[in-house]
C-alpha cells in the first residue's frame, strides 16, 4: 500500500511487519479505550461503595483484580480510572495539537518576526521540565480537572509547534504550493487545504506519541496527588494509594500499574505501525 507521503514509500516486507504493529496496537488500545469509556458510564461494582468484609480480597472470579483497602472492586476502579485517564489525555492532545498546528502553520509558512517570537517562547517553555512546569501551573491555578487539562495542554504545545513548523518550512517552497500561490489562492486556503493534508501522516504519529506522553503525565500528576481527587479513581491516584500496601496486597498496585503499561504500549505500537506506513 502506498501512502500519499512525499517520502519514498516503504518496501513491501516492511509494510507487512508494520501491519503487525498496527494490528497489535489497535487491539490493545481498542480494548483499553472501550473498557475505559464503558467504565465512565457503567462498572460491575460501585467504584466508591466500601465494605469491611471485602477488604484486600485477592483476585478471584467475583473480583478479577481483587479489592483494595476499602473493599472496593479494583477492576471497576481500573475501568473508571482508565476512562478518566484516556478522556483527559485525548482532550489534552487535541487542545495542544490544535494550538500547535495554528502556531506552527503561521510561523513555518510566514517566518519573520512572528516566527522568532513564537519559537523563542516555545524554547522557554521547553526549558523547564514539563511535569515541573505543569505542577507550578496547577499550584497557581488550583487543583481540579479543568486546570489539569489546561496546564498539561500548555506544556505539550511546543512539541507540536516544532513538528508542524518544520513540515510547513519544508513544504512552503514545493512546486505545487508555488503554483497555487501564483494562481492567487487565498493564503489561508494554501495553509490549511493545500499543505495541512500533506503533513497528516507525520502529525498523526506525533498525536499518538503525544497521547502516550499525556497518559503518563496525567498518571504522574494524579500519583503526586494533583489532578483527579479521591474518591474518584484515576490510574495515578490508585497507584499512589496502593504503594502503602505493596507487600500486603501486591495486586492493588499491579492492576493500575499494568493498565498504564498496557495503554502506553498499545498507543506506542499503534504509532509505530502508522509511522512505518501501515495505514
Amino acid at each position: 500500500m502506498d501512502t500519499p507521503s512525499v517520502r519514498p514509500g516503504p518496501s513491501a516486507p516492511r509494510a507487512r511487519k508494520a501491519n503487525l504493529y498496527l494490528a497489535a496496537g489497535l487491539v490493545m488500545t481498542g480494548l483499553a479505550v472501550s473498557l475505559g469509556v464503558l467504565g465512565l458510564f457503567w462498572t460491575p461494582y460501585s467504584t466508591t461503595a466500601m465494605s469491611v468484609p471485602d477488604r484486600f480480597a485477592p483476585p478471584s472470579l467475583a473480583h478479577p483484580f481483587g479489592t483494595d483497602n476499602f473493599g472496593r472492586d479494583i477492576f471497576s476502579r481500573v475501568m473508571q480510572g482508565m476512562g478518566t485517564t484516556v478522556c483527559i489525555s485525548v482532550l489534552v492532545v487535541l487542545a495542544s495539537a490544535a494550538a500547535g498546528v495554528l502556531l506552527g502553520a503561521f510561523t513555518g509558512y510566514f517566518g519573520g518576526l512572528l516566527d522568532e517570537v513564537v519559537m523563542r517562547f516555545t524554547d522557554a517553555v521547553n526549558g523547564f521540565p514539563s511535569i515541573l512546569l505543569a505542577l507550578v501551573m496547577i499550584s497557581l491555578l488550583g487543583n481540579g480537572r479543568q486546570n489539569l487539562i489546561l496546564s498539561l495542554s500548555i506544556v505539550f504545545v511546543p512539541s507540536y509547534v516544532r513538528i508542524v513548523r518544520s513540515e510547513y518550512l519544508r513544504l512552503r517552497d514545493a512546486d505545487y504550493i508555488c503554483r497555487a500561490r501564483l494562481m492567487g489562492v487565498n493564503r489561508l486556503r494554501v495553509l490549511f487545504v493545500h499543505i495541512l493534508p500533506n503533513i497528516l501522516p507525520v502529525l498523526s504519529v506525533s498525536l499518538l506519541i503525544g497521547l502516550n506522553n499525556a497518559i503518563l503525565a496525567e498518571s504522574g500528576m494524579s500519583y503526586l496527588g494533583i489532578g483527579i481527587q479521591p474518591p474518584e479513581a484515576s490510574l495515578g491516584n490508585m497507584l499512589s494509594d496502593a504503594q502503602g500496601y505493596l507487600q500486603a496486597a501486591p495486586w492493588y498496585a499491579l492492576a493500575p500499574g499494568l493498565s498504564i503499561v498496557w495503554l502506553v504500549l498499545g498507543f506506542s505500537l499503534f504509532g509505530e505501525g502508522i509511522r512505518r506506513g501501515g495505514v
Partner: protein, 512 residues
C-alpha cells in the same frame, strides 16, 4: 521527563516487591530487668528534623519526644501519665494554689558534671516564664510572678492565679544557670542521655549519662535518632536492620512486619484526637440539626476499621480516654455506627431534604486523614450530603483553615498534652484556637469554674459537663484516638509507652 517518571515508578514497584520477602531473625525474649546487661546501641527512626535543641524554644512534638531523653524538669511524667519527681524529689502546693515549694533531689548532675543547684532552677524557671527578659518561652508558665531560693535545696515559686493543672507545666527543662544562649548548639541537661552530635536533616546522636540519678539507668551506651524521609523508606530500613525502632507505622506496614520475625509491633493509644471539624459559623453547618445529622451519619467503627485497622479508640467528645479521671464515654449519644434514618430526619427538619454539597478540606500530607475523608464522604452520601474531598497543602491548611478559619469542614488531628483541660480550652468562644467557631455562653461559664476549681473531683465533674455540652451541641464530629503502631527490633526490649508523645530510651536494652 514523563518517561523517566513512569519508569521510576515501575522500577520502584519492582524493587519494593522484591525486597518484601527478605526477613530473617530470632525469636523474642523479654526477660526481666534484673538480668539486664547494660551496653549496646539503638537507632530510632523519626519523621522530621528537629526545630531546636534548646528545650525551652522547641515547639514541635517531634522534637520534644527526643529532648525527653536529654532534659528533665522539676517533675516528669511516667508511663502512666502521672507526674513523678525528677530534679525535685518532692513538691508542695499551698492551700490557695498560689505557692509551689520544690525540694531538690540530692546528687542530680548536669551532663557537664556540675551538680544542679537552686540557682540553676531559679534561672531556668525565670527564663521560661519571661521574668528574665520579658518574653515568656512557655506560655503556661508566664503566670509565675517570682522564684525564690529558700535554701540550697528548696525553691519556692509564686504564681499569679491558681490553676491545678499548672503543675504539669513544671516538666519544663532545668538547664545550667546562664547557659541559655548555648543550649541551642550544645544542649546540657540532666536527662539519662547526653548530647553528642547533630547533623541537620540527618541524625542526632546521644550517649549514656553515667551520672544519671536513677540507679542503673540508662542501659544503652548510645542512641541515634535518624530522620527517615518517608514511611516507605522506614519500612525498608526496618527490614534492612538499619533502624531498630520506628514509632509511626501505618496499618499496612504493621501487617507486613507482623508477618516476619525480626520485629514486634506494639499498639498503644496515641495522644491525638482525630475529628471531622465542622465550622459552626458557616451555613449550613451553623444549624445544630445539620451538625447532628452529620454525627448520626458517620460510622466511626468503619472509619476505625478501614483507616486504622481497628487500633483506634472511638471518642464522642474532646477528652483522651487515657485520662480516666476526666473522661466520660459519650459514644452512645450519636452511636458508633451510622443511623441513616435519624440523620435524614434531622436534615429534613433543618430544611435540607435533598441534602447539600459539602467540601471537606484535608491536609494532603496526612494519608491517615485523607483516607478517613474518603470513608466519611462515602458515609455522608448515604444521607444525601454530597461530600467531596479537597486536598490542601499543610502550610495552606495552617494558614487558611486553622488560623484563617476559611473552611466548612476539615479532617485533622490535635495532639494533646497531659493537661486534662488542654482540648476543652480551645472551645471557649474567645479562644484563639477555637477554629470551629463554637460559641456557647454556658460552656464558657463552666470552663471558667473548672479552671478555678481546686478540688480534683469537682474539676473532673466540670470537665465532664463540658464534654457533654460539646456533644449535645454537635460542635464537631469527634472520631477517634488513633492507635500508635511502633515497630521494635527483636534484639531490643524494655521499650515503654507513654500517654504523651515521647521516646523514652532510658529503659531500652539489648537482649542478645
Amino acid at each position: 521527563m514523563k518517561k523517566k517518571l513512569s519508569s521510576f515508578l515501575l522500577t520502584a514497584l519492582l524493587i519494593m516487591a522484591v525486597l518484601g520477602g527478605c526477613a530473617d531473625g530470632t525469636g523474642e525474649s523479654s526477660g526481666d530487668n534484673s538480668s539486664v546487661e547494660p551496653g549496646g546501641s539503638a537507632v530510632v527512626g523519626i519523621q522530621q528534623d528537629i526545630d531546636s535543641l534548646d528545650p525551652h524554644l522547641a515547639t514541635a512534638a517531634g522534637t520534644k519526644e527526643i529532648l525527653f531523653n536529654l532534659f528533665e524538669g522539676l517533675v516528669k511524667s511516667d508511663e502512666k501519665g502521672n507526674l513523678i519527681g525528677a530534679v525535685a524529689s518532692d513538691y508542695k502546693i499551698s492551700e490557695d494554689g498560689l505557692v509551689y515549694t520544690f525540694t531538690l533531689r540530692d546528687n542530680v548532675k548536669f551532663h557537664n558534671g556540675n551538680a544542679v543547684t537552686a540557682e540553676d532552677v531559679k534561672y531556668s524557671l525565670e527564663r521560661v516564664s519571661g521574668l528574665l527578659d520579658g518574653t515568656p518561652l512557655i506560655a503556661a508558665l508566664s503566670t509565675i510572678t517570682s522564684v525564690d531560693i529558700l535554701d540550697e535545696k528548696t525553691v519556692q515559686v509564686t504564681v499569679g492565679s491558681a490553676n491545678t493543672e499548672l503543675i504539669y507545666s513544671f516538666v519544663a527543662a532545668i538547664i545550667p544557670a546562664g547557659s541559655g544562649e548555648e543550649e541551642g548548639a550544645a544542649p546540657v541537661g540532666t536527662g539519662p542521655f547526653s548530647f553528642v552530635s547533630y547533623a541537620p536533616q540527618e541524625s542526632i546522636v546521644l550517649k549514656k549519662n553515667p551520672d544519671y540519678w536513677q540507679e542503673g539507668l540508662p542501659y544503652l551506651d548510645e542512641v541515634t535518632f535518624r530522620i527517615v524521609g518517608s514511611a516507605e523508606t522506614a519500612l525498608l530500613e526496618l527490614q534492612g536492620g538499619t533502624i531498630d525502632i520506628y514509632p509511626y507505622l501505618t496499618d499496612s506496614q504493621a501487617q507486613t512486619l507482623r508477618g516476619g520475625s525480626t520485629h514486634q509491633v506494639a499498639v498503644s493509644p496515641s495522644n491525638v484526637v482525630q475529628a471531622l471539624f465542622l465550622n459552626n459559623a458557616v451555613a449550613p453547618l451553623d444549624d445544630v440539626k445539620v451538625r447532628q445529622a452529620i454525627l448520626y451519619a458517620i460510622d466511626k467503627e468503619a472509619v476505625n476499621t478501614f483507616v486504622g485497622g481497628g487500633t483506634g479508640s472511638l471518642i464522642g467528645s474532646a477528652m483522651l480516654p487515657t485520662l480516666t479521671d476526666y473522661y466520660t464515654d459519650l459514644n452512645g449519644v450519636y452511636g458508633t455506627t451510622a443511623n441513616v434514618e435519624k440523620a435524614k430526619e434531622l436534615l429534613a427538619e433543618a430544611g435540607y431534604e435533598d441534602g447539600f454539597d459539602l467540601v471537606i478540606d484535608i491536609p494532603s500530607n496526612y494519608e491517615f486523614h485523607m483516607q478517613t475523608g474518603e470513608v466519611i464522604a462515602e458515609q455522608l452520601k448515604e444521607v444525601g450530603i454530597n461530600a467531596s474531598i479537597h486536598a490542601v497543602e499543610w502550610s495552606t491548611w495552617l494558614e487558611e483553615i486553622y488560623n484563617g478559619r476559611q473552611y466548612t469542614a476539615t479532617i485533622s488531628g490535635i495532639t494533646c498534652d497531659q493537661t486534662p483541660g488542654y482540648l476543652l480550652n480551645r472551645f471557649q468562644t474567645e479562644s484563639a484556637k477555637n477554629f470551629i467557631n463554637y460559641s456557647n455562653p454556658e460552656y464558657d461559664a463552666i470552663y471558667l469554674q473548672a479552671q478555678s476549681a481546686q478540688d480534683p473531683a469537682k474539676k473532673a465533674e466540670y470537665y465532664k459537663q463540658l464534654q457533654q455540652l460539646l456533644t449535645d451541641d454537635a460542635a464537631t464530629a469527634f472520631l477517634q484516638v488513633p492507635g500508635n503502631l511502633t515497630a521494635i527490633s527483636s534484639r531490643l526490649a524494655g521499650y515503654r509507652f507513654y500517654p504523651i508523645y515521647v521516646q523514652d530510651m532510658s529503659t531500652v536494652y539489648v537482649t542478645e
